[in-house]
């Protein structure tokens, strides 16, 4: 996937991943490291604490390529990841955020 052009990249279907994680300083690094080592770009990222702040929710917007199933399994293996849910690109979390990027 490294060689695909920017326009091809934008034409790919998107997936939104929702991760429930323990909230501590290293957890983001654990998650995004799985993507960066595979040269798999994370197109969008959003994280906020949930409830009393013991856990956070991470939203990731990624391209849907053939490695996505493996990515989800790798994320599920992380000790600090409590749950992973997959959503379609139509999920509104990033749609509503887009107005901040105009």
């Amino acid at each position: 996937m490294n060689s695909i052009s920017r326009s091809e990249n934008q034409a790919l279907a998107r997936t939104v991943l929702e991760l429930d994680v323990n909230n501590h300083p290293g957890v983001m690094s654990h998650v995004v490291g799985l993507f960066s080592r595979r040269s798999y770009n994370v197109e969008g990222i959003l994280v906020m604490p949930v409830g009393n702040g013991d856990t956070s929710r991470i939203w990731l917007l990624v391209n849907e390529d053939e490695r996505l199933d493996q990515m989800v399994k790798q994320i599920e293996k992380l000790e600090d990841v409590l749950a992973v849910h997959r959503h379609g690109a139509e999920h509104e979390v990033f749609v509503r955020l887009e107005e901040f990027f105009r």
Partner: protein, 560 residues
């Protein structure tokens, strides 16, 4: 588990107490400024024997040797900065071979983190991609949960390394401890789905040309005996990965030995013809499969692994079963019917007869195969064999009669030169009643040669068989075969006098080249106690064959 009266202890004392409670009796490491509080506490421990390595990587491999020999998590320690970075290779090696390791590193005090303090490095960040999990401990109180967790994570499911980075001020922080946590131990693994077991059994019963493919997970799970029972009941020709050698005795009638890049022709050819591949605790590594599209092209696949992310990673399985491989094999056994595939067994027998592993010089101790066989003839199955990485490793994998799980300790996934000797020291410390033989090469041994003095100091029963071909043999071989014989940077011009090197480090040595009766000299050396280096020259042109060219399908073997 509760203490009657609260104790006030430092973080360092808590670490040591938790290691003792965990059952750790030997650990390896090197002290330095940022881990001195822990070493001070360790000095008071009457239970723990600290082995002073001479390079942190050596300490890491020493711990790996203990973990690989016993299956239990082992501990290594290092200080901050270079101490931690020196450990990284041994940690990455443990990750790729799924070895339970707990690495404890000192870190600069919390207030100095991020200031580029002396010997500060981002150990946490550096170790993320090469550990199963890691911790940067922010208070002494947290150690009470972090240390048991580290052992639990290292041992649970698919084992692996865990790093605990502890700032110096946390080591010095005083905490009142009234209750001690239970030692961390492996989480139970969920039972496999019964429906999948039934379908897998039906597929095995219906197969006409099945092959059982065992990986390192069989050894980790303690499932070798069960795997052999399955093979016998279902009459399955069986191949093993480099990591699984010893899971089935290599001279078992159903054994086809090691598959892949340096497997026997008959082994790779049988795989090419099979109609069912039963992969157990194996991860379809590229050195085992060759070009994946050409690997078992006609076969349906049953894949059993404790790590769900291994299923469908390289090859899509027709039936993927996530679970402890020992448990899965146990539940499969009763559902296996008496199979009828005599034609297939006859075909495999004829492949073995026509295309066996050829081991030229097996009777001559001055050749690679002959030397390995001569060593084996002096020992029984109680001996533990470690290797470094390169030609000698592949020759030993091919020729040594491995018959026992955990008899064989080798760096498979990362392929780390320098692994063998410190791992042998660790194995000998963990199981002092065994003779441990480390096969190494003149390239590999120099990568952790400093641990010779550790071997002398600990007086471990380690015999280092140094196969000296004055070159980086596997590089030399690849340049010969695939780079138009343009030999570059693989022939050593300067050669140390390894006898004097060993003796200088306090390890007795013999040179088989100088012995008129090398077999007798070898037998004498292997029967003495304590460390010994056994030097033997071999010819530079000797190759590991057969060989699948990198990127080719396994049936496209050169030589052999």
């Amino acid at each position: 588990m509760s203490q009657p009266t609260p104790e006030t202890l430092t973080g360092a004392q808590i670490v040591v107490r938790l290691l003792e409670r965990q059952g750790v009796r030997t650990l390896a490491g090197i002290p330095g400024g940022a881990i001195l509080p822990i070493y001070d506490a360790l000095s008071k421990s009457v239970l723990i024997h600290h082995v002073l390595a001479r390079h942190e990587q050596g300490g890491g491999f020493l711990a790996q040797g203990m973990a690989r020999a016993t299956g239990m998590p082992a501990v290594c320690m290092a200080s901050s900065g270079p101490g931690a970075t020196n450990l990284l290779t041994a940690i990455a090696d443990a990750k790729l071979d799924s070895i339970p390791l707990v690495a404890i590193t000192g870190q600069v005090p919390r207030a100095m983190i991020g200031t580029d303090a002396f010997q500060e490095v981002d150990t946490y960040g550096l170790s993320i991609p090469i550990t199963k999990h890691n911790f940067l401990v922010s208070s002494a109180d947290d150690l009470l949960s972090v240390i048991p967790q580290a052992f639990r994570i290292a041992a649970s499911g698919r084992p692996g390394p865990v790093l605990v980075d502890i700032p110096k001020d946390v080591q010095n922080q005083l905490v009142e401890v009234s209750n001690w946590p239970d030692p961390g131990c492996a989480d139970p693994v969920p039972a496999p789905a019964a429906e999948l077991i039934d379908r897998a059994a039906a597929m095995i019963n219906a197969a006409t040309r099945p092959i059982l493919y065992l990986g390192g997970g069989v050894v980790h799970s303690g499932a070798s005996g069960t795997a052999v029972s399955l093979a016998e009941k279902a009459r399955l020709p069986t191949v093993m990965t480099l990591m699984a050698l010893g899971a089935m005795p290599v001279d078992h009638p159903l054994s086809l030995g090691m598959l892949g890049m340096h497997g026997a022709r008959c082994t790779n050819l049988a795989l090419d013809e099979c109609d069912l591949l039963i992969a157990v605790g194996a991860r379809f590594d590229d050195r085992a499969t060759g070009k994946v599209a050409g690997f078992c092209p006609q076969a349906k696949i049953i894949h059993i692994d404790i790590d769900p992310s291994e299923l469908d990673k390289i090859k899509t399985a027709h039936i993927g079963i996530a679970g402890d491989v020992g448990t899965v094999l146990q539940s499969l056994l009763p559902a296996i019917a008496a199979p009828v595939h005599d034609d297939w067994l006859a075909r495999v027998a004829s492949l073995k007869a026509e295309h066996p592993l050829r081991m030229p010089g097996i009777d001559d101790p001055r050749t690679p195969y002959g030397l390995i066989r001569a060593v084996a003839n002096c020992l029984d199955d109680a001996a533990t064999i470690t290797t470094d990485v390169g030609q000698h490793q592949m020759w030993v994998a091919q020729a040594y009669p491995l018959r026992r799980p955990r008899q064989w300790l080798t760096s498979g996934g990362l392929g780390t030169m320098g692994f063998g000797m410190p791992a042998a020291i660790g194995a000998a410390l963990a199981e002092p009643e065994r003779t441990v033989v480390c096969f190494t090469g003149d390239g590999s041994i120099l990568m952790n040669v400093q641990e010779l003095v550790t071997a002398a100091e600990e007086n471990v029963n380690v015999k280092i068989v140094l196969m000296n071909n004055s070159s980086l043999g596997l590089v030399f071989q690849q340049q010969t075969l695939f780079y138009g014989e343009r030999i570059y940077a693989s022939k050593f011009k300067g050669m140390p006098d390894f006898i004097r090197v060993a003796e200088g480090f306090g390890v007795p040595a013999i040179d088989l080249d100088q012995e008129s009766d090398p077999l007798a000299a070898l037998a004498r050396a292997l029967s003495t106690s304590g460390p010994m280096l056994i030097h033997a020259s071999i010819a530079m042109h000797e190759q590991v064959l057969p060989m699948v060219p990198p990127g080719a399908a396994n049936k496209e073997m050169i030589g052999g």
